[in-house]
């Protein structure tokens, strides 16, 4: 009976001109979005590779130079574009692509794609995640809003009920008929994305298992929508009413809930303004050691401590250049300040994430969106991870330079120049994002909530439609 109902529903869908047009439009949009994203991904990756190589070449070819001058000259850490960003661009567009690494300062990522666009960018981009998260649920509504109401309106429900059918099997037949085209369409998209990505040169860390997990997350999301739409159709008498309620649910779940969640999270755990943040960092910095100010109280205290430790009465008698040593101590102090203040930001981010996860219970969109971005490595957590890795690299770079200055010159000798080959000894910045396992484990609550939605919506559909 399930297969009979499935075949009947499929025939009806295929013979409905509106459905054929809707399918054509969605497939066209998907194709366009994937093509645009693939081109964009290829371009950005080429730019990334070119910029990374150019920056490294500049770094290695500085010639003879004072290491601390090189520290101020700085270098860049570039954020790689990950293969699955082809499917979900997440916050990449807004989060910046490179961090300038220099002495004394922790800088934020800059040069975001959004900053390079005109005001029209506010309308959003045609990306696969937009189609996957917003348009396909709308297609599910279009295909399924009258699944049961049409039986009432056409009068076929009475004839069906008189056949002694099993309601559960009948509903499963309808469910399968709605799920199959959505599954085929989604599978096709992910297959095309996989083939495109594995065909690209330097596709890096792309792996099929992450793509499959992402595919399953979206399939789960669509199953939830199918269950909700069928439930509404089963419990309403008119197709028009069913359509309006289903679209209302879509608006709440996909448009209103994410914005409300964002507002609530920001209200409960606000980030400091940029002005406040900068002022707080500056205040803490002023209260500590400044590597460039040998006359400050903190510098004098450090000097006395080091002289006592080494049992000498002059900085000239130390076995290293105290200027370089002071610079390093100043870096360590400043790194602690940045660690403290960025840790506070991170704590706020974690608290906001908890609010989002709590609110994910009101919309299946939220856990799906978070999981999709996390698996694509385009979420804020990955961005934080990248920024932390860049900061660790900055600290290591400063130590590398200050140690060379301190160990190879004498106190007061600011004219010291490191060898032209010295710069090559600094390992290049190489960022490895979290593995799929740790991404999934970090997002276990989102997976759990999505699972609850899945089980709950299925249960509700089967339980409440026993008596249609």
């Amino acid at each position: 009976m399930i297969s009979k109902t499935f075949l009947k529903e499929t025939k009806e869908l295929l013979r409905d001109g509106r459905v054929r047009i809707a399918f054509f439009i969605v497939i066209l949009l998907l194709g366009l979005a994937v093509w645009i994203s693939a081109r964009q991904y290829e371009n950005v990756n080429e730019q990334y590779e070119a910029a990374k190589m150019a920056e490294r070449t500049i770094w290695e070819n500085q010639g003879e130079k004072n290491p601390h001058s090189a520290a101020h000259y700085g270098t860049y850490a570039f954020k790689p574009k990950y293969p699955l960003s082809l499917v979900d661009q997440g916050v990449d567009k807004y989060a910046g692509t490179s961090i300038f690494l220099e002495a004394h300062n922790r800088n934020e990522a800059q040069f975001s794609a959004a900053a390079d666009q005109t005001g029209l960018a506010r309308f959003g981009d045609l990306t696969p995640d937009f189609i996957l998260l917003f348009i396909i649920p709308l297609l599910i509504i279009l295909l399924g809003y009258n699944s049961f109401t049409k039986e009432r309106e056409m009068g076929t429900l009475t004839l069906l009920k008189s056949q002694g059918i099993s309601m559960g099997k009948w509903i499963l037949g309808k469910w399968t008929a709605l799920f199959t085209p959505i599954l085929i369409m989604t599978a096709f998209l992910f297959l095309v994305a996989g083939v495109l990505l594995s065909g690209l040169e330097n596709f890096g860390i792309f792996n099929w298992s992450a793509l499959v997990v992402m595919f399953l997350v979206y399939v789960g999301y669509y199953i939830i929508f199918i269950n909700i739409v069928l439930l509404i159709s089963a419990k309403t008498r008119k197709s028009g009413v069913s359509l309006v309620i289903s679209i209302g649910v879509w608006i709440i779940a996909c448009l209103a809930a994410p914005k409300a969640a964002s507002n609530i999270a920001e209200a409960k755990h606000p980030y400091p303004t940029r002005q406040e943040f900068t002022a707080n960092v500056l205040k803490d910095k002023k209260e500590g050691l400044d590597g460039h100010n040998p006359w400050s109280k903190e510098a004098k205290l450090l000097q006395e401590k080091v002289l006592t430790e080494y049992g000498v009465d002059s900085l000239h008698k130390l076995p290293f250049n105290f200027d370089g040593y002071r610079m390093q101590k100043s870096e360590e102090h400043e790194a602690e300040i940045y660690f403290k203040h960025y840790n506070y930001l991170k704590e706020q981010f974690v608290q906001q994430s908890h609010v989002y996860r709590g609110l994910a219970a009101i919309s299946p969109y939220l856990p799906t969106r978070f999981l999709s971005m996390a698996i694509a490595q385009t979420d804020y957590a990955t961005h934080w991870d990248f920024a932390d890795a860049a900061e660790e690299y900055r600290i290591a770079t400063q130590k590398f330079l200050n140690d060379n200055f301190a160990e190879n010159s004498e106190y007061g000798n600011w004219g010291y120049r490191a060898d032209a080959d010295f710069w090559k000894n600094l390992p290049a910045f190489d960022y490895n994002p979290p593995e799929l396992d740790s991404v999934l484990s970090y997002n276990a609550s989102n997976l759990g909530i999505l699972g609850l939605w899945l089980v709950g919506s299925f249960g509700l559909l089967l339980f409440t439609t026993k008596t249609i």
């Binding site: 009976m1 009979k4 009947k8 009806e12 056409m154 009068g155 009475t158 004839l159 009920k161 008189s162």
Partner: protein, 238 residues
Amino acid sequence: MIITDNLTKKYGDQTVLDHLNLHVKEGEIYCLLGANGAGKTTTINLLLGFIEPTSGSAFINQLNVQENPRTTKLFLAYIPENLMLYPSLTAVENLDYFSGIGGKRLSDSDLKGFLGEAGLQPEAFDKRISTFSKGMRQKVGIAIALAKDAKVLLLDEPTSGLDPKASNEFGLLLQKLRAKGVATLMATHDLFRAKDVATHIGIMKDGRLKQQFKADDISLSELENSYLNTMGYKELAI
């Protein structure tokens, strides 16, 4: 095959069916006559298990409908006043679906055979139902009953809106089913058709079965007079 035992249905204080006792045997066609609101459709809905009786019982093939709602439906076929099928499917596809969900696996030639037996023209077999007249849809309904090998046929105003030719064809189909031993209960306003096809006729008013006849024991004019008298239109009776 069809038995109602003091079958009663009340909605609040209103009694729409009052202690109905019917017995339709194999190969019998029982026509229930009555004005709107007499309780004819309620009787059929109770036999289908669509509504619960307030008291009394209904039996199909010796099984209590209330206790065996799904099993009893396996023995019966139902054709409502306006038989609605899936408009975008053909006659064969509709028959295939309705017989398939009942567990029957029929070949294409079987399906066409049943449609032909029900009187549908072969050129209509593969046409979509959206192009069918009411009479043609009723024939598909009969084909569903034939394919199901139903023991009981419940008909609710099946000839209403049919032209005389289609109505006559429908009557002939009922006789065919009767010859196969099908027990039929038909609710209708159509005295002429009732007299033409029925083996037994009952007249209902206000939820009560007021009179019962064997169709052979009464002429059409006697039936008409009885009906008008029962309905309270004595001045119209001859």
